[in-house]
C-alpha cells in the first residue's frame, strides 16, 4: 500500500476537498489500485529523455532563440487599445452566488 488514509487526508487538504469518511476509505483503495498500474512506468529508463509539457514544444518553439523569445510563435500583436475590453461589471458579477453589486461576497476570512 503506497497511499495511506493519512496521505489521503493531506492531499485532500491541498486540493481544498474535505471528503466524508467513506469517500476517504474508497479513495485509499482506488488511488492504490491506479498507482500500482502507473508504477509500470518505472520499467523505462528515462534519465536521458527530456520531459514534454505540451505539444507546441515540438511545433513552434524556435530553439535558436533565447528565453521567452523561443515562444514567439505563441504571442500576438497587442490589440489597438492595448488590452481587449473587459466584461462590463454587472455581467462579470451576474453568475456570482453572492455580491454587493460592486464586489464578490464571501464568508468571513478571519475568525475573531
Amino acid at each position: 500500500m503506497k497511499v495511506t488514509e493519512k496521505d489521503v487526508a493531506y492531499v485532500a487538504d491541498l486540493a481544498n476537498l474535505e471528503l466524508t469518511q467513506s469517500e476517504r476509505e474508497r479513495m485509499v483503495r482506488d488511488l492504490n489500485s491506479i498507482l500500482e498500474h502507473i508504477d509500470s512506468l518505472n520499467e523505462l529508463d528515462t534519465t536521458t529523455v527530456p520531459p514534454m509539457a505540451q505539444i507546441s514544444d515540438r511545433l513552434g518553439v524556435d530553439e535558436s532563440r533565447q528565453g521567452s523569445e523561443r515562444f514567439a510563435y505563441a504571442s500576438r500583436d497587442d490589440l489597438h487599445e492595448g488590452l481587449r475590453k473587459s466584461l462590463p461589471h454587472e455581467v462579470a458579477l451576474a453568475n456570482a452566488p453572492d455580491t454587493d453589486r460592486t464586489f464578490f461576497e464571501v464568508p468571513k476570512v478571519i475568525e475573531r
Binding site: 512506468l41 529523455v49 514534454m52 505540451q54 510563435y73
Partner: protein, 496 residues
C-alpha cells in the same frame, strides 16, 4: 422531413432551394428530440430562442436567393463543455448547474458564422472525465443501438444525438479519446484534429495540453466540412497554430492508391475483442484493395500510454479545476461559516466521485516528494510515446487501429472499477499525448448489432490525409453494402 441520413449538404441544399425553411427544419429536429430523447438522454439544455433567431436569419438569405454559407440552416448541437453566451453551460457538473456564460466558445461562434443552427447543449461525463457518460451529474445517456448499453464517453450525448438523428452534426471534445470512442460505440464518424488546429477558447478546461475540439458527424465529408469551418488560428488561444487551413472537402476525392498505411501489432494484442479484430482486419484488407500499401510499424511504448495519460491529465485537471470555489460563478454550498469551509463544502458537494478521484490523483502526483517520481516521469514517457509516432510516420502516411478494444458495454458494467474504465481508452489516449489527429469511422457491427469503429491516425496537421483515407473506406463500404443487399434480394428471388 426525413431526418435519417440527412447530411450537412442535404440540409443546406434543402434550405437553399427552399424545399423547407431553416425554421421548419429546426422545428422537425425539436419534435424528434421531444419524442425520442426521453429514452436516450442526449440533451441537457435546448437553445430554441437562439436557434430560431439564427434560422430566421438564414431563411431571409435563402428568400433573397443569396448563396448560403457552408453550414447555412444546418441544425447542430454542442457538447456542454463549450460555453455558449446566454445558454446554460454545465460541463455535466452540479458545480456549474446554474452557469450562464457571458461569452461564446470560438468553435461555436465559427459554426454560427458559417450558418449553423445551434439546437442545444449535449450531455457528457462531468468535466469530460469518463468513458461511458455515466459520470454526468444529470443523467446517463443510452446508446441508440441498444438502450441497455453506454454510448461511450465523454462526448456520449454528442455521439448519441447524431446517431439518433437528433442533430445533423455535433461538436465534441477529446482529451483521451472522448470524441473517437463514443463515435465508435454509436456508429458515427468522430474526428479529433491536431492539437492547436482548433482554438480551445471557451472550452471548459480539463487537461489543457491534451484538450481538443472536433466534430461528430454521419459522414466523413461532413467532418471535413465542419473542420474547415472551425480550424485556424484564434488570437484568443495562444496554442492555436498559425498553420494554413487546406480545403478539406476538396481533398477528399484524391485517390488513396499508393498511400502507405501502417499497422502496429501493439494495437492488436491482449484485450482486443475477437469480433472487433475481425472487422478492423477486414477494413485493412479493403484499404489494400483500394491500392493502399499496408506496412507493419511498431509503436513500442504503447502499453505505457494509459499510465502516462492518467498522470498528465489528472495533474493538469487538478490545477484547472481549482478555479471552481463557489466565489465567482456556479454553485456555492450554503451554511459555510468561513471562507475555507465554504471552498471545501462547495467542492465536496459540487463535484462527483470521478472528478474528485482525478483531482486527488493529480494533486498527489504534483505534491512535494512525488513530483519527480510521477509527473516528471510521465512527461518523459510522453516524449517516448510521441517519438514512436514520429518514427512510424517516417515510413507511413497514416496508421490504422481499432478505435476501442470492445463494442459498447452495458450501463453499470464498469462503474465500480475505475481502472477497468480507464482501459477503455487504451487505443485512443496515445494520439492525445502526441497531439496527432485521429478519426473513427464505422467499420461494421458485432453479432449483437453493436457498431465497431476503425481509427485512422495521421501526422501533425495532416487531417487531409486521414479524412481522405476514411472517406475512401466509407465509400467502398457503402458500395459493397449495397452490393450485398442486392445479392440478398437476388438470392431471395431465385429461391421463390
Amino acid at each position: 422531413m426525413e431526418l435519417r441520413s440527412l447530411t450537412i449538404d442535404d440540409a443546406r441544399s434543402t434550405v437553399q432551394q427552399r424545399k423547407a425553411s431553416a425554421v421548419s427544419l429546426a422545428e422537425s429536429f425539436y419534435t424528434k428530440i421531444q419524442t425520442d430523447d426521453p429514452k436516450i438522454g442526449a440533451y441537457l439544455t435546448l437553445s430554441k430562442e437562439r436557434a430560431f433567431a439564427k434560422a430566421a436569419e438564414i431563411d431571409k438569405l435563402a428568400e433573397k436567393g443569396e448563396r448560403l454559407p457552408p453550414l447555412g440552416g444546418v441544425p447542430v448541437a454542442i457538447k456542454d463543455v463549450m460555453v455558449t453566451k446566454g445558454v446554460r453551460t454545465t460541463a455535466g457538473s452540479k458545480i456549474l448547474g446554474n452557469y450562464i456564460p457571458p461569452y461564446d466558445c470560438t468553435a461555436v461562434s465559427r459554426l454560427e458564422a458559417a450558418g449553423a443552427i445551434v439546437l442545444g447543449k449535449l450531455n457528457c461525463d462531468e468535466f469530460a472525465m469518463g468513458s461511458s457518460n455515466e459520470n454526468s451529474a444529470w443523467k446517463p445517456v443510452h446508446n441508440p443501438s441498444d438502450l441497455s448499453r453506454v454510448p461511450g464517453g465523454s462526448s456520449g450525448g454528442a455521439a448519441a444525438a447524431v446517431a439518433a438523428d437528433m442533430a445533423v452534426a455535433a461538436l465534441g471534445s477529446d482529451t483521451g479519446g472522448s470524441i473517437r470512442q463514443p463515435a465508435s460505440f454509436c456508429g458515427v464518424v468522430g474526428l479529433m484534429p491536431t492539437y492547436g488546429r482548433v482554438s480551445r477558447y471557451g472550452l471548459i478546461a480539463f487537461a489543457s495540453s491534451l484538450d481538443h475540439i472536433g466534430p461528430l458527424t454521419k459522414t466523413v465529408r461532413d467532418a471535413a466540412t465542419i473542420l474547415g469551418v472551425i480550424a485556424g488560428r484564434d488570437p484568443m488561444d495562444s496554442t492555436s497554430a498559425e498553420v494554413p487551413v487546406p480545403n478539406y472537402v476538396g481533398e477528399l476525392e484524391k485517390p488513396v492508391s499508393g498511400l502507405k498505411i501502417g499497422v502496429a501489432k501493439e494495437y492488436f494484442g491482449e484485450g482486443l475483442d475477437g469480433e472487433v479484430r475481425k472487422a478492423v482486419e477486414a477494413a485493412i484488407q479493403k484499404l489494400a484493395g483500394l491500392g493502399c500499401e499496408v506496412v507493419e510499424v511498431s509503436l513500442p511504448h504503447s502499453k505505457y500510454a494509459i499510465p502516462t495519460y492518467y498522470i498528465v491529465a489528472t495533474a493538469e485537471a487538478s490545477s484547472n479545476l481549482a478555479r471552481f470555489d463557489g466565489v465567482r460563478y456556479g454553485f456555492r454550498a450554503p451554511e459555510a461559516h468561513t471562507l475555507s469551509q465554504m471552498y471545501r463544502c462547495t467542492r465536496d458537494l459540487g463535484f462527483g466521485a470521478e472528478v474528485k478521484r482525478r483531482i486527488m490523483l493529480g494533486t498527489y502526483a504534483l505534491s512535494a516528494g512525488y513530483y519527480d517520481a510521477y509527473y516528471l516521469k510521465a512527461q518523459r514517457v510522453r516524449t517516448l510515446l510521441t517519438r514512436d509516432f514520429e518514427d512510424a510516420f517516417r515510413k507511413v502516411d497514416a496508421i490504422v487501429t481499432p478505435t476501442s478494444p470492445t463494442a459498447a458495454f452495458k450501463l453499470g458494467e464498469k462503474v465500480d472499477d475505475p481502472l477497468a474504465m480507464y482501459l477503455a481508452d487504451i487505443y485512443t489516449v496515445t494520439a492525445d499525448l502526441a497531439g496527432i489527429p485521429g478519426i473513427s469511422v464505422p467499420c461494421g457491427e458485432t453479432r449483437e448489432n453493436l457498431p465497431i469503429g476503425l481509427q485512422i491516425l495521421g501526422k501533425h496537421f495532416d487531417e487531409a490525409t486521414i479524412l481522405r483515407v476514411a472517406h475512401a473506406y466509407e465509400m467502398s463500404r457503402e458500395k459493397s453494402e449495397v452490393r450485398s443487399q442486392s445479392a440478398e434480394v437476388n438470392q431471395h428471388h431465385s429461391v421463390t
